[in-house]
Point group: C2
Chain length 99, copies 2
Amino acid sequence: MSNFDYQQIDDVIHSRIRTAVMAVLVSVEEAEFNFIKEKVNATDGNLSVHIKKLEDAGYLTVKKNFVDRKPVTRYKLTSKGYKAFEKYIANLESIIKGK
Amino acid sequence: MSNFDYQQIDDVIHSRIRTAVMAVLVSVEEAEFNFIKEKVNATDGNLSVHIKKLEDAGYLTVKKNFVDRKPVTRYKLTSKGYKAFEKYIANLESIIKGK
């Protein structure tokens, strides 16, 4: 197997917004929608679509509750998400270094 | 500007096959189509499309000539391509590290 094999790169993560969202979530315990949105500089609709894709892959969980009667949505990486991101970085590093 | 800003990631490079092709080309002086194809594990059609996109961005040049009457196509990164790949890696590293 070649070390440049593109199929080794996790397609769920290797999209610009999703890469950025995963990077935000590994850096914090959990994050609200607006926090992520500001960090990755995405629009609401675009971010929602990409978060859904990460959720469908089992890489993050969504918690909805109310704070002062306002709905708050929080996102958190799952252990599967952590592992996938670690593997993604390791694969990308090995591809970039050509090892 | 947030360091997680996804728009900092070069969209031309941040596609699985194109990331792999760029990684192959930075590791060699120049490469033939079949060499790249084997390295990145892509199909002919798929690889052609992605190479064209990199060519259109000015990231690689194509040289066609004949060796023993057989057509040989060689690809080489341009200095623009080198710089773009270096910047891509640097951006991705800073996003991943959240710095």
